[in-house]
């Protein structure tokens, strides 16, 4: 349970600083051609890291009950189903056409 857990200003400031650095890093890295889809992968990894910092510290999830973790996990799990099953269809359509000729 999160009630009562007071996070220090110092930790909040450190998280804020890290988020700013990551923002500048992702904007800077976007101008470098990493080849293939590496640019997109790096941008999403940085975004994921930023989101994780916000969720764990700003949203106090690190100090929350296991039940809260289950609720949040369920939300992201359904998002994963939405993305994975749809893309499994869309991305594999070309294969079928190639096989049929």
């Amino acid at each position: 349970m999160s009630a009562g857990h007071v996070v220090s200003v110092k930790l909040y400031a450190a998280i804020f600083g890290t988020l700013l650095v990551l923002t500048l890093a992702t904007a800077g890295a976007a101008f470098i051609d990493l080849g293939g889809s590496l640019n997109a992968i790096l941008a999403l990894l940085i975004a994921g890291a930023k989101a994780l910092l916000v969720i764990l510290f700003f949203m106090h999830v690190l100090y929350s009950s296991r039940l809260t973790w289950v609720f949040i996990g369920a939300g992201f799990f359904w998002l994963l189903i939405l993305l994975a099953l749809t893309l499994a269809d869309v991305l594999s359509r070309g294969w079928l056409q190639a096989a049929v000729g």
């Binding site: 909040y12 700013l20 904007a27 975004a47 930023k50 989101a51 809260t68």
Partner: protein
């Protein structure tokens, strides 16, 4: 955890259970929000897979400087919101009101910059529809990109405006002294909402602004 001395509604055993119910209820709502924005992120992913060149070219027409500044503004507003929750937990009324006011001001700055960007897009005829200014083989798919741009940033901006309304209500309540060390759940759960809207933007920024910069 239970403290029967604290005020709580009659359907709860104690204030701790009441708090846990509000906290989990907010997370269920945010779960539906993940689904809501998830649908748009999915649509964006499918069409970007179909038209990578058009998405890269259209993305380069967005103002990356304003986008980066807005990302920083929103992250700063999340920081002040976190400090507001901290002030509420400590029962510090004046710092709470100050932090909530600062968060609102930063949210307004974000929306102002967003408005400026929208205005530029209208001037440059980059709004999908009859007056769309781009031509050539990519123009059709570039309209799809700008449709996603306006739909996703528009829904995000609507969430920000709702957030400003919620923060206004919190400031009014805080000024009346409704929050204390023992009871600050509204500040906490609206904080969750504000951080969630920040997270949506954390993903919108690279997907909309940074797609094609390395191809320029």
């Amino acid at each position: 955890m239970s403290d029967s001395n604290l005020a709580h509604a009659h359907q709860f055993d104690d204030a701790a259970q009441q708090h846990e119910a509000s906290w989990l209820g907010m997370w269920i709502f945010l779960g539906t929000e993940i689904m809501f924005f998830g649908g748009m992120f999915l649509g964006y992913t499918v069409y970007r897979g179909d038209y990578p060149a058009a998405f890269a070219d259209a993305s380069n027409r967005l103002d990356i400087t304003l986008g980066t500044i807005n990302t920083a503004v929103l992250i700063l507003s999340s920081f002040t919101m976190a400090l507001a929750v901290r002030s509420a937990q400590l029962g510090a009324r004046r710092p709470l009101i100050a932090c909530l006011g600062l968060t609102m001001a930063l949210g307004a700055v974000f929306l102002g910059i967003k408005f400026t960007e929208y205005y530029q897009k209208f001037v440059e005829h980059l709004v999908p529809g009859g007056g769309f200014g781009l031509s050539g083989p990519l123009a059709g798919a570039e309209q799809i990109f700008f449709s996603f741009y306006f739909a996703m940033t528009g829904m995000h901006a609507l969430h920000m405006i709702i957030g400003l309304g919620l923060l206004t209500a919190l400031i009014v309540k805080a000024r009346r002294g409704r929050f204390s060390v023992a009871y600050n759940t509204p500040v906490e759960v609206i904080g969750l909402y504000w951080h969630f809207v920040d997270i949506v933007w954390i993903f919108l920024f690279p997907l909309l602004y940074l797609v094609g910069r390395h191809l320029q």
